[in-house]
């Protein structure tokens, strides 16, 4: 009977999980199409129309999204670059490819559509200003571009000098032809100046640069990085711009293929990493994980209302699924970025959420739903709060130079963030203990088990945070030449260790009563919040890569709320125990 119930529950949970997966996957495919299968064909994604003629043609082919771009110190797919640009300028990432296309191939229209947004971000508009047609006629030649006229600049300047010499500086004295010449000279000078520092859209393969990677079109001119091959690629982009502006999708697709092939061959990289990055950002595993953890909490709530094993297994399977999804997410990031997983604040949140979800599954064995709920709730809360803590969305960024040392990242940072995770679990388990200790129908045996678990978790937390802090000192010694500098981040780590040492000793010596030990363990949420995020607000010290701002009030509110909750739970439990 029991086995049948278990199998039915398992089937029910599996079916539910499958439905969620299929729904998510379907929505993703509806937006993007399959990268691997559709590389030669226009995708069925969001429409991006040729802006000049309103032809209903899409210019967001999957292969186009995969064109390598050198941005923020690493090679990333164009689709990822486009999302970064769209977010920087417009504050969102919707239909980023269409936005980027318009900005680079039809900048006048883009600037007209979003004058305020582009006034501060004009660089992207000028990415290809040397190859886009100018609305002028030169020597009866139409559709001339800056590159065609660049060679003529010295000659035009000489002619303008002669005009000024002959007729002075007042344009009223000039003939119509002379005015045109002076106007042309002025415009060419403006275009030259506007492109002088433009190094944003690095997509042209170059051989002469030290790293032999990719350069922005203006760098070919300004930095002397041009070569026959660079010229060939620049011409391909000019044809691409032409295809976009005339709504010619066949020409577009041909050029996308050539540009993609040339770039991949030049860089000698596997396209797999680019494909996976596009897949990663379009699938948005972060949302999947939140959904799964949310489902797990829902099942736990349902199990509490109606004690049926099916709900319990549903909660367990959802939590396991979330942990697996997080593991896959972190693994994918390691592969895409070719570095250890915990290098940014965002990644530390992912890692801590993974450990919380895993710990929840492990704790289910001894504490059933209490253990599972503690881990799942911690992971879920972190992931839901993360977008409010981090100002910018994840851009799979490269690391600060000081962090780019694999050995220390793989030890110090992993150990210390694992310590954070265990501290949060300890604190939540302690909350649970206090809550049940104040309840009327509490079971003494359950209380003892939970109390022991809190103690065990706090010991593991102490071990990890202490070892992590010492490893951090060794890393600091190697990176900065000193073991300890009383830096806010270092002090934050030390604060957790001292807090844990204090409560452990208090418990061992009997100076802290069990209830007080639990209350002080519950306060670890506050200590960790201050050490993990709070010290970053100070914007001082050597850990500048982690600085954030704008969450001071939120953090203060969280700490106050926690203090009130813990105090209330403690007083309730204390009275109940009297």
């Amino acid at each position: 009977m029991k086995t049948r119930l278990f199998v039915r529950s398992l089937n029910f949970a599996a079916l539910l999980f499958l439905i969620v997966l299929v729904m998510c996957q379907a929505s993703v495919f509806a937006q993007t199409g399959d990268v691997a299968a559709m590389t030669d064909h226009p995708s069925n994604g969001a429409a991006d129309h040729g802006a000049l003629n309103n032809v209903q043609i899409r210019f967001d082919d999957d292969l186009y999204k995969l064109i390598p771009v050198l941005h923020e110190g690493r090679i990333k797919p164009l689709g990822s670059f486009a999302r970064h640009i769209k977010h920087n300028i417009m504050g969102d990432q919707d239909d980023a490819i269409s936005f980027l296309n318009k900005a680079i191939f039809n900048p006048a229209q883009a600037a007209m559509d979003h004058p305020d947004e582009f006034s501060e971000n004009a660089q992207v508009l000028r990415s290809f200003s040397m190859i886009l047609p100018l609305s002028i006629t030169y020597n009866d030649q139409e559709n001339v571009n800056f590159l065609m006229l660049k060679a003529k600049i010295p000659e035009i300047e000489e002619e303008i000098r002669q005009i000024i010499k002959d007729k002075g500086g007042n344009p009223e004295n000039y003939s119509e032809e002379e005015l045109k010449k002076v106007g042309l000279g002025y415009n060419l000078q403006k275009i030259t100046q506007s492109g002088a520092q433009n190094a944003l859209f690095k997509v042209i393969p170059v051989e002469w640069a030290e790293n032999k990677k990719l350069a922005a079109p203006w760098q070919l001119i300004n930095d002397g990085l041009g070569s026959p091959k660079a010229r060939e690629n620049l011409d391909l982009w000019a044809d691409l711009a032409n295809a976009y502006r005339h709504g010619d999708h066949d020409l577009w697709a041909q050029n996308v293929r050539k540009i993609y092939d040339n770039s991949i061959a030049h860089l000698g990289i596997s396209p797999l990493r680019l494909q996976l990055e596009i897949r990663y950002i379009e699938t948005n595993p972060y949302l999947w994980v939140i959904l799964l953890l949310g489902a797990s909490l829902f099942f736990m709530g349902a199990a509490r209302l109606r004690p049926w094993r099916g709900f319990e297994y549903g909660a367990l399977i959802s939590a396991g699924g979330a942990a697996l999804a997080l593991l896959a997410t972190i693994g994918l990031r390691i592969f895409i970025l070719q570095r250890p997983p915990v290098g940014t604040l965002y990644e530390s949140i992912l890692f801590v959420a993974l450990l919380c979800a895993l710990a929840g599954v492990v704790l289910y064995r001894s504490l059933r739903l209490k253990g599972l709920g503690t881990g799942v709730f911690a992971g879920f809360s972190l992931l839901v709060l993360a977008p409010n803590i981090l100002q910018n969305p994840d851009s799979l960024g490269v690391l600060s130079a000081v962090l780019n040392t694999n050995f220390w990242l793989a030890t110090h940072v992993l150990v210390i963030t694992a310590g954070y995770a265990l501290c949060i679990l300890t604190a939540l388990a302690a909350h649970l203990y206090l809550y049940h200790a104040g309840g009327k129908t509490r079971s003494i045996a359950d209380q003892l088990t939970l109390g022991d678990k809190v103690y065990n978790l706090s010991l593991i937390s102490l071990l990890l945070t202490a070892v992590g802090t010492i490893l951090g000192g060794i890393w600091a010694d190697q990176s900065w030449g000193r073991f300890w500098g009383w830096d806010p981040k270092e002090n934050g780590a030390l604060l957790i260790v001292l807090w844990l040492v204090w409560i452990e000793h208090g418990r061992i010596t009997g100076k802290l009563k069990p209830l007080m030990f639990q209350a002080l363990s519950a306060c670890l949420t506050i200590i960790v919040a201050l050490a993990w995020f709070g010290v970053n607000l100070l914007s001082t010290g050597l850990h500048s890569y982690g600085f954030i701002d704008g969450i001071a009030y939120g953090l203060a509110g969280f700490c106050t709320l926690q203090l009130i909750v813990i105090a209330a739970l403690y007083i309730r439990a204390y009275r109940s125990n009297q």
């Binding site: 000489e158 990085l225 070569s227 040392t405 793989a410 071990l463």
Partner: protein, 199 residues
């Protein structure tokens, strides 16, 4: 306690595994990277004249003396293709160095100086001045000066805009180096040519 130790061991193993998987090699990183640098330097030395920017596209031009030249006719010679103009001061400053190079390596090197001048008289005046100041070098048949009409070669083929630029090829006309600007001296040029000749 056993469980605690097990968890810690798993973390340490994970960290170590990750470190080795990512190729950092743990504490041997410094030693390893020094070895890699050494072997890369050796490899670079060995391949220093290997094509770095591919085969130079063949092109033809008319020298100032009216001779029609095609670069394929110059196979077997190292080419120094200089993009310059008389209105470009660094180009004018650098020109004697190029002539000196052509004279010093007259058996192995051909200097092709493609001018982006738009005025013939300015170009001819400058060439006349060079003939007077460097008669030996300018008399050599390995110095080819031409006006690049509409910068068809300079911009159209080589995508060169920042004058002066100088592309150096090996004997098979693989492009092996490029001097951007006039910030180079005879030692730099000799070093590049020595490597090309050595290989």
């Amino acid at each position: 306690m056993k469980l605690n130790l097990l968890i810690f061991a798993v973390f340490v193993a994970f960290g170590m595994g990750l470190t080795y998987w990512l190729g950092a090699g743990g504490v041997k990183t410094v030693e390893k990277s020094a070895q890699i640098e050494k072997s890369l330097a050796a490899q670079q030395q060995a391949n220093s004249s290997a094509p770095q920017a591919g085969q130079m596209p063949a092109f033809s031009f008319t020298a100032l003396d009216g001779a029609q030249i095609h670069t394929n006719d110059l196979k077997g010679k190292i080419l120094i293709v200089n993009f310059w103009a008389t209105w470009c001061p660094p180009c004018v400053k650098e020109f004697p160095l190029l002539l000196e190079t052509a004279k010093a390596y007259d058996r192995d090197v051909v200097l092709i100086a493609l001018s982006s001048d738009f005025k013939d008289d300015a170009l001819m005046r400058f060439v006349g001045k060079m003939r007077a100041e460097y008669p030996d070098a300018m008399r050599g048949d390995n110095v080819l000066i031409a006006k690049d009409e509409n910068q068809a070669i300079t911009n159209g083929i080589f995508n060169t805009f920042k004058l002066p630029e100088t592309v150096i090829t090996d004997q098979n006309h693989n492009m092996v180096n490029k001097f951007i600007g006039a910030d180079w001296d005879m030692d730099d040029m000799k070093s590049v040519l020595a490597q090309v000749l050595h290989n």
